[in-house]
C-alpha cells in the first residue's frame, strides 16, 4: 500500500478515494504534494509535512501530538516550536527557523508562515517551478494575543484543515467568552465551589490564564499543564504564575479555588480532592448543547484554537487558491460547499485530528498524551 489516495476525475469535481476501499486500479499522478500512507509528501523536495509514521525528513506545522510524531531523522519547524518538540518527543535532530525565511530542499523552496493556532504554529509554503502549495496545519484567524496571528499566503493550491467546517460553528469574540468564564468562576467562588477548567495543556491552558488571573490570585494547575508551562517558561515565554497541584496542598486551601486541567483529567478520581467543584470545558465542541451534556460538564465555553466556518472561508478566499484540499474535520461538507461556490475542492483523509479540539471522540489519545508529558518533561 504505497499510495493510499487515488485521483478519479468525475464530471463535476475531483473526488479522492482511499484505495483500500475502492475497487479501481490505483493510478499514480504526481502532485507537488502527494497524499500517502505516511502523510503529506513532497517527492521533488523529498520531505513530509506532519508525517504520522517515522520518515527521513519531516516539516512540522505545530507541536500538537497528532501533527508532531516521533521517530523521524530530521525535523524542520518554527523556532518557537523547537523546544516544545524537544519536550514532547525527546532529543532529536530539530532545526528551528524564522517565519518567511526560505529554505531550499532539493530545489523546492520551503518557508513557514504564522497560522495563529498555538505558539509556533505555522503554515508550510512549498514552491516548485512557479507552482505554490500551502499546507495550513491547524489555524485560527482571530488574534488571541499570545500566538503570532494568522497571515494569509497566496498560493495555487491550499490544503486546509476543516475541524469546524460547518456554519453552526461561529465563535463569539474571545473577550465575551472570557467574561463568561470569569462570571462562572465568580459564581462558583461565592458558593464555595471550586472551578475546574478543562483546557488542552498546550494552547488553551495558556490562553485562559490571563482572564482567570484577573479574578483570582492563585491558579492551580494539573501536572500536565504545569509541565507545559514550565517548558514554555524555559523557552522565555511569560505567563501568569500557576501553582502545581501536589498531594501536600491542604484541602482547605483548595476550597473555592481555580484549577486548570487537561481533558485527560476530566472525570478521573484526581478531581475528587477539589470537591465540591464544578467543571467547565473550554472547547469549540461546546458550541453544541449535546456535547456539554455528554461530557457531563457544568458549563461549556466554545473557545477554540481553530477557525470557525466564517474563518475558514475567509482564510481560503484570502489565499486566492484555485484548488483546495480539505483535511481533518468536516472535509466533505467544506469541499462540497467550495465546489458549489466556484472554488475547486476535494477532501482527503488524514490521521490528524486527535488533539483536544478535534479529538472529542478520542479521549484515550489525550490520556496517553498527558501520561507521556508527565514522563518527558
Amino acid at each position: 500500500m504505497d499510495i493510499l489516495f487515488v485521483l478519479i476525475n468525475s464530471t463535476a469535481n475531483t473526488v479522492l478515494f482511499q484505495a483500500r476501499y475502492s475497487h479501481t486500479i490505483p493510478k499514480t499522478i504526481h502532485l507537488l504534494i502527494e497524499f500517502t500512507d505516511k502523510g503529506l509528501y513532497c517527492r521533488q523536495g523529498n520531505f513530509y509535512i506532519d508525517p504520522w509514521r517515522p520518515v527521513e525528513r519531516a516539516i512540522i506545522t505545530h507541536a500538537h501530538s497528532d501533527h508532531a510524531r516521533g521517530g523521524s531523522n530530521y525535523y524542520l519547524c518554527h523556532h518557537y516550536t523547537k523546544p516544545l518538540l524537544q519536550a514532547r518527543l525527546g532529543d532529536g535532530n530539530y532545526e528551528g527557523i524564522e517565519w518567511n525565511k526560505t529554505v531550499d530542499m532539493n530545489g523546492v523552496k520551503v518557508s513557514l508562515h504564522p497560522a495563529g493556532h498555538i505558539i509556533g504554529s505555522s503554515q508550510i509554503r512549498v514552491e516548485c517551478k512557479g507552482e505554490v502549495w500551502v499546507v495550513s496545519g491547524d489555524y485560527k484567524v482571530e488574534n488571541d494575543g499570545i500566538t503570532t496571528p494568522f497571515e494569509p499566503v497566496k498560493c495555487n493550491v491550499f490544503i486546509t484543515e476543516s475541524t469546524f467546517g460547518l456554519p453552526i460553528y461561529k465563535w463569539k469574540p474571545q473577550q465575551e467568552i472570557y467574561t463568561n468564564i470569569q462570571e462562572w468562576i465568580k459564581k462558583n467562588k461565592k458558593n464555595n465551589v471550586s472551578s475546574i477548567l478543562i483546557a488542552y495543556s498546550l494552547g488553551k491552558a495558556q490562553r485562559i490564564l490571563q482572564p482567570v488571573s484577573e479574578v483570582s490570585d492563585t491558579i492551580y494547575a494539573h501536572g500536565a499543564v504545569a509541565n507545559m508551562q514550565q517548558a514554555l517558561e524555559n523557552a522565555w515565554w511569560n505567563f501568569p504564575k500557576v501553582e502545581r497541584i501536589t498531594p501536600g496542598i491542604p484541602k482547605s486551601k483548595l476550597l473555592g479555588s481555580i484549577i486548570i486541567a487537561p481533558p485527560s483529567a476530566d472525570g478521573t478520581p484526581w478531581m475528587k480532592k477539589f470537591a465540591p467543584y464544578a467543571v467547565g470545558i473550554c472547547s469549540g465542541w461546546m458550541q453544541v448543547r449535546g456535547n456539554v451534556r455528554r461530557r457531563n460538564a457544568d458549563a461549556g465555553f466554545a473557545l477554540s484554537d481553530h477557525a470557525d466556518w466564517d474563518g475558514l472561508l475567509t482564510a481560503i478566499h484570502a489565499t486566492g487558491a484555485e484548488k483546495v484540499y480539505a483535511t481533518h474535520g468536516f472535509q466533505s461538507a467544506l469541499s462540497r460547499y467550495l465546489n458549489e461556490h466556484g472554488i475547486e475542492a476535494a477532501e482527503i483523509r488524514t490521521e490528524y485530528g486527535n488533539d483536544e479540539d478535534e479529538g472529542i471522540g478520542n479521549d484515550t489519545n489525550l490520556k496517553q498524551e498527558s501520561d507521556e508529558l508527565h514522563e518527558l518533561l
Partner: protein, 566 residues
C-alpha cells in the same frame, strides 16, 4: 412505549430534594420573560447536580409571571401546544435567512441532533438594538392562534420573532414549535420546586397538575391555589414507582411483612370511574381511554368514585400474552376489529387509590388490597382481573418462584410492604421490583450511526448481527449500556474501520463483539432475522471474544421457541 424506569433510576434525586433551595439567589433586576425561561433551560440542560436544577426551578417559579408559570408547568409535564408550524417550513425559512444550501443545513442538523438548536445556531446573529424580551405566554398563545393562519402569516410571525431574540431564546422558542424539552426535569422535580414556593404539599401539587387542563385558559390560582375549585373528574393520582432490588432479600426484614406479586410486562395504568364515566391513564400521563374500548363495559359494573392502579396487558383466558401484541395496538389512531380480536386487553389490578370518592392512598396496603379484591370479584368480568398475590413463607422459596417468572409471562416479582401507604413518585423502601436476569446473546456490530442530541457527534447507535453459516444476519439495534469511555473507543474504531456509507449509516468491519441483553423475544416478519427483541441493550463489550464465537441465528430461534411462544 418507552419505559424509562427500566433504563435509569434517578436515585440521587431522592436524597437531595429536601436540602435544596433554602437560600435562593435573588433574581437580577429586569429579568423575566422568554430570557428567564431560556436561562432556566440552559441550567436545567447542563447542570449535573439535582440541587442546582431544583434551585433554578424554584428561582424561576419565584420570579416569573403567573401566566408564564402555568405554561412552564404545562410544558414540563408534556402539555405542549399543538404544532403551529410544520417543521419543514421552519427549516426552509432558516435556510433562506442563513443563506446556505439545503444539504448543508441537513449536515448541520445531523451533527447537532436537534432541529430547534440547529436553527438557533444557523440564524444570523441578533442585532442587539432589536432585542426584545417578551413573555413566554405571549409567544405560546400567539403560536396557538397561528395554527389556523396561512403560510405567509406564519412565516412573517416566526421571522419577526427570531429577529428579536438571542440565540438561547431562539432555541427555546423553536422548541415550543418542534417538540418537547428533554432536559432531565422529572415531573417530580418540578413538583418539589413548586412546593418550595407555594403553600401546598408536593402530593397535592402533583395531583393538581395531572389530568386534563388547558394552560391557555387556566390561571395559576385555579391550578394551584389552596382553594382551587375546578373539578376534573378524569384526574389520575401520581403513580408510586418501585426501585429495583438487587441481592439479598433478607435485608427487607420478615417475609410475612411483604406482599409479592408478579411484575407484569405491560403498560402501567390507572382506571378511573367518576361521575359515571370511565377514564384510562398511562403512567406517562397520557389519557388512553379511547385506545382500549373493551374497558368501557366496566363503566356500568364498577362502583362510583373508584380509582384502580394496575397493568394494561394483552391477555386471553386470564393469561398474559407477549407485550409485542400490545405494541400493534398503541400508536394507531383507529383500532380495527381484527386487532381487538388478536390482541384482547385486560386490566390486571393491584391497588386501590380511591374508593367511594375518597382518597385511600394513606390507608395501609393490606386494607386497600382487601377492598380491591371485593370490587374485582363483584365486577366479575374477564377484562378486569386481580394481579395475584403469590403465596410463600420464606425468602428462599420466593427466590425459586421468581425463577419461573417467564413461564407465567412476567418479568420478575414485585414486593410491597403490607403496611405501606401509597406514595408519590419513586420512593425508596416500600415497593421493590425484583426482575429476573435478562436473556443474553453475543453478537457482532456491523452498522453504526451517530447518536442524536446528547451524543450527536459520535457513533453510538449500533446494529448487531449473529452468524448464520458464513453470513451475518442483523437482528437488533441496541443503544445504552456503554460507558462514555467505551463509546469513545467504539467511535474511534468506527471512524477507522467503516466500509461503506449509506446516508448517516456506516457499515463497519465486523470485529467488535458485544453481549446484548433483552427482556423478551417474539416472532416478527418485519425483521430479516425473523425475531424482534424487547428492550435490547448492550450489557458489556466482549473484548475477550472473537467474531468466530458469537451466537448463531439458530440460537436465537431456540430462544424464540423457549420464551417467545405464548
Amino acid at each position: 412505549m418507552k419505559k424509562e424506569e427500566d433504563y435509569k433510576e434517578l436515585i440521587e434525586e431522592e436524597h437531595q430534594l429536601d436540602a435544596a433551595t433554602d437560600e435562593l439567589p435573588s433574581p437580577a433586576p429586569g429579568t423575566g420573560g422568554l430570557a428567564a425561561f431560556a436561562q432556566l433551560v440552559q441550567v436545567l440542560g447542563t447542570s449535573t447536580k439535582t440541587l442546582d436544577k431544583l434551585a433554578a426551578l424554584s428561582n424561576y417559579f419565584t420570579v416569573a409571571e403567573d401566566k408564564d408559570k402555568v405554561w412552564v408547568i404545562a410544558i414540563f409535564s408534556g402539555r405542549r401546544p399543538r404544532r403551529a408550524v410544520n417543521v419543514s417550513l421552519l427549516q426552509s425559512w432558516c435556510i433562506e435567512l442563513a443563506g446556505i444550501p439545503a444539504w448543508l443545513f441537513a449536515e448541520c442538523y445531523h451533527t447537532v441532533g436537534d432541529l430547534a438548536e440547529t436553527i438557533a445556531l444557523l440564524l444570523p446573529e441578533l442585532d442587539e438594538t432589536k432585542h426584545k424580551n417578551v413573555s413566554l405566554s405571549y409567544y405560546l398563545e400567539e403560536l396557538i392562534r397561528l395554527e389556523k393562519q396561512d403560510e405567509l402569516v406564519k412565516k412573517q410571525f416566526i421571522i419577526d420573532a427570531w429577529q428579536t431574540m438571542s440565540q438561547s431564546e431562539r432555541f427555546v422558542f423553536n422548541k415550543f414549535i418542534t417538540g418537547s424539552f428533554r432536559i432531565g426535569v422529572s415531573q417530580k422535580m418540578m413538583v418539589n420546586a413548586l412546593a418550595k414556593t407555594i403553600e401546598l404539599d408536593a402530593s397535592v401539587i402533583a395531583h393538581r397538575i395531572s389530568g386534563n387542563w388547558d394552560p391557555s385558559t387556566t390561571t395559576f390560582n385555579e391550578l394551584l391555589s389552596e382553594h382551587a375549585t375546578a373539578v376534573d373528574f378524569s384526574k389520575p393520582y401520581p403513580f408510586y414507582l418501585a426501585y429495583a432490588h438487587e441481592g439479598d432479600l433478607s435485608v427487607l426484614g420478615k417475609p410475612e411483612d411483604w406482599q409479592a406479586e408478579w411484575k407484569w410486562d405491560g403498560i402501567r395504568g390507572q382506571m378511573i370511574k367518576r361521575n359515571n364515566e370511565l377514564f384510562i391513564w398511562s403512567r406517562g400521563e397520557e389519557l388512553m381511554t379511547e385506545k382500549f374500548p373493551e374497558y368501557q363495559v366496566l363503566k356500568d359494573k364498577l362502583p362510583e368514585g373508584v380509582v384502580l392502579d394496575g397493568e394494561i396487558i394483552p391477555a386471553k383466558d386470564g393469561k398474559p400474552l407477549p407485550f409485542a401484541l400490545l405494541q400493534t395496538r398503541i400508536g394507531r389512531k383507529n383500532i380495527t376489529k381484527k386487532q381487538l380480536q388478536e390482541a384482547p386487553i385486560a386490566f390486571f389490578a393491584y391497588d386501590l387509590l380511591e374508593y367511594n370518592g375518597e382518597d385511600w392512598r394513606n390507608k395501609e396496603l393490606g386494607q386497600r388490597r382487601a377492598t380491591l379484591e371485593k370490587i374485582v370479584k363483584s365486577v366479575n368480568h374477564p377484562t378486569l382481573l386481580l394481579s395475584d398475590v403469590i403465596e410463600y413463607t420464606t425468602w428462599d422459596e420466593l427466590a425459586k418462584i421468581r425463577e419461573s417468572s417467564r413461564d407465567v409471562g412476567a418479568e420478575g416479582l414485585m414486593l410491597k410492604n403490607k403496611y405501606s401507604v401509597y406514595k408519590v413518585g419513586r420512593k425508596v423502601g416500600d415497593w421493590w421490583k425484583w426482575k429476573i436476569e435478562p436473556l443474553t446473546i453475543d453478537a457482532v456490530m456491523i452498522y453504526a450511526q451517530k447518536g442524536a442530541g446528547r451524543r450527536s457527534n459520535i457513533y453510538t447507535d449500533y446494529t448487531f448481527a449473529v452468524k448464520d453459516g458464513d453470513n451475518l444476519v442483523p437482528f437488533t439495534k441496541a443503544y445504552s449500556g456503554l460507558t462514555d469511555k467505551e463509546f469513545n473507543a467504539v467511535d474511534a474504531f468506527v471512524k477507522r474501520n467503516s466500509l461503506e456509507k449509506f446516508g448517516p449509516v456506516r457499515t463497519v468491519k465486523p470485529e467488535l463483539v458485544f453481549e446484548i441483553a433483552f427482556e423478551g423475544i417474539a416472532a416478527s416478519n418485519r425483521h430479516k432475522s425473523g425475531v424482534a427483541l424487547r428492550f435490547p441493550r448492550i450489557l458489556r463489550w466482549r473484548k475477550d471474544k472473537p467474531v468466530s464465537e458469537i451466537n448463531t441465528l439458530e440460537d436465537l430461534r431456540k430462544m424464540l421457541e423457549m420464551y417467545g411462544k405464548s
